[in-house]
Amino acid sequence: MGFELPPGDPDAIDGALRSWVNVASDLKSQESGARSGFAAALATWKGNRADDFRNASAGLQLQVHEAQSTIEESVGHLQAYSKVLRNAIEEIKQLQSTAAARQNSVQSQTAKLNPNSTQIDQLDQHCAMYVAALMQQAEVLRQGVVTAARATAGLIDAGTDVAVPDSEKLSPAAIARRVEQSTGVAGIQQAISGNSLTTGQAWAALNSATKELPADAVNGDGSINSAQLSKDLTAIEKQEADNPAKKALDSTLDGWTLATAPSSSWALYRLAEAARNFHNATAALPADLAKLSPAELDTPSINKTPNALLDGIERDMSTLTPADEAAFAADADVTEATQSLLRNGLPFSADWLAKGSVALGFLGDGWTLFDPKAPTDDKVDAGVNALGLAATTETGSTLLAGGLEAGGLVTADAAVGWVPVVGWTLVAGTAGYELWKHRKAVGTFVTHTVPNFVTKTVPHALGDAASGVKKLVTGDVHVNVGPIHFSI
């Protein structure tokens, strides 16, 4: 209370923002440099690898553009906040000065009066009331700074979500991990520095960039065809609108559109595309699983031959406890691949191991969710992936709309890999072996647990992620946004 100043240093903010403006300007030059570099490399290059390079070019230019436009926007938001803070500080100082002047004046007046005069009390009371009113004005100014700070934080979070969807509950370190997960370039810089980068590693490192945009939205010189991209997004939204099961997604996307600034529509496009593929792929999962070849899947991250793996599984099955089995309950449908896996017992070939690990990736997610030692970030990722696979069950599919409506599910999936099958391969690669260690409990889970899992466990595990996005959509942050516009 009183004339306490709000915390913050507007001079320091403005100083840092001058550098921030330079960052945005530098990124614009870098985007232009990258565009001309790619155009020169692609001017005469022909062949399949040239096409891959072209698609990656557009994806990388998009990444730089998103960074540049998001940072540029943040400058405006922060400048506005700095102004509110500075004005509040100056006005509160002025109020304090006015109060002090009044108090001094009253002191001078009362000093001239007879000490017994009743006028003294009157002057003192009026002065106190006057100063109290000024203090109240100071409090209003401080609250105005808090309100501005929260609104600005929401806008800044919207900018963060362009890079890492649904990031509000994540620590900076977790955010950096999510970025690494989505770009897939971990270890590449070290390989470059050590002069040990292989051609295979190099092309794999560009994989995420290759998938940023649809091929028809990439020009011959590797730049982005914004008109075509706009058409593609419109087509996606029309597709979504025709399907009742996707109405929940529409409202989420609409909410996302309302909550993000126009240049963040790049992220919206990726979100919409991820959702479209998510719908299509989950509907076709059983058939797709049967068709997947090991070459299309990441193999589990274990260095064992199939026979050595089977020996280990036999030994590990003895570690199952009653608590493992008690963790699961209820009836469920299962994918044909999973049922077949269980009927056939343990896989006897690398081929089956690879296919089975995709289905078991789903089960691995369930295990992660139940495991009290699993970190929250892992549980959220596990829940998203598991919901995608659970949606193929008869019970799960009816819950898909509700699940997607939570919003954070789709954005989190976009962070893992915007093509759902890619996301599942990540799951398979990371979760498959752990699942084999608890195969018996997992089998019970698969045959008895899926609806329970989908209706209770997944929404609970994803509750934080969902409320994070919902807060962005329905909270205090309002941005005037019309239809989606693409501009480069």
């Binding site: 913050g8 530098d26 570099g37 005469t44 062949g47 990388l60 890079a163 955010i175 190099a202």
Partner: protein
């Protein structure tokens, strides 16, 4: 192998431009991290400070990876140019 080819000279030029862009982008990610921290420390409000820290982490990490990918692209274009030069270009 149908329709594979290119001009090694223009591809090498493009590779050099990409290398410069990669270096510049990598330098920018450090600036984002540093300035983001300064802003986070100066705003005064804990929620806004935390939001700024997340923002700086996200874009710093994204541009670090983008810089790496641009380096990779530069190397791939350069290698492809060398392969074509060895094979005789167009």
């Amino acid at each position: 192998m149908a329709n594979v080819g290119g001009d090694p000279a223009s591809m090498t030029g493009g590779a050099l431009d990409l290398h410069r862009a990669a270096t510049a982008v990598s330098a920018t990610q450090s600036a984002i991290s540093g300035n983001g921290g300064r802003i986070a420390g100066a705003v005064g409000d804990p929620a806004l400070s935390a939001a700024m820290s997340r923002f700086a982490a996200a874009w710093s990490a994204t541009l670090a990876d983008t810089g790496t990918q641009l380096s990779v692209a530069s190397q791939l274009a350069s290698n492809a140019a060398k392969d074509l030069a060895t094979a005789g270009g167009h």
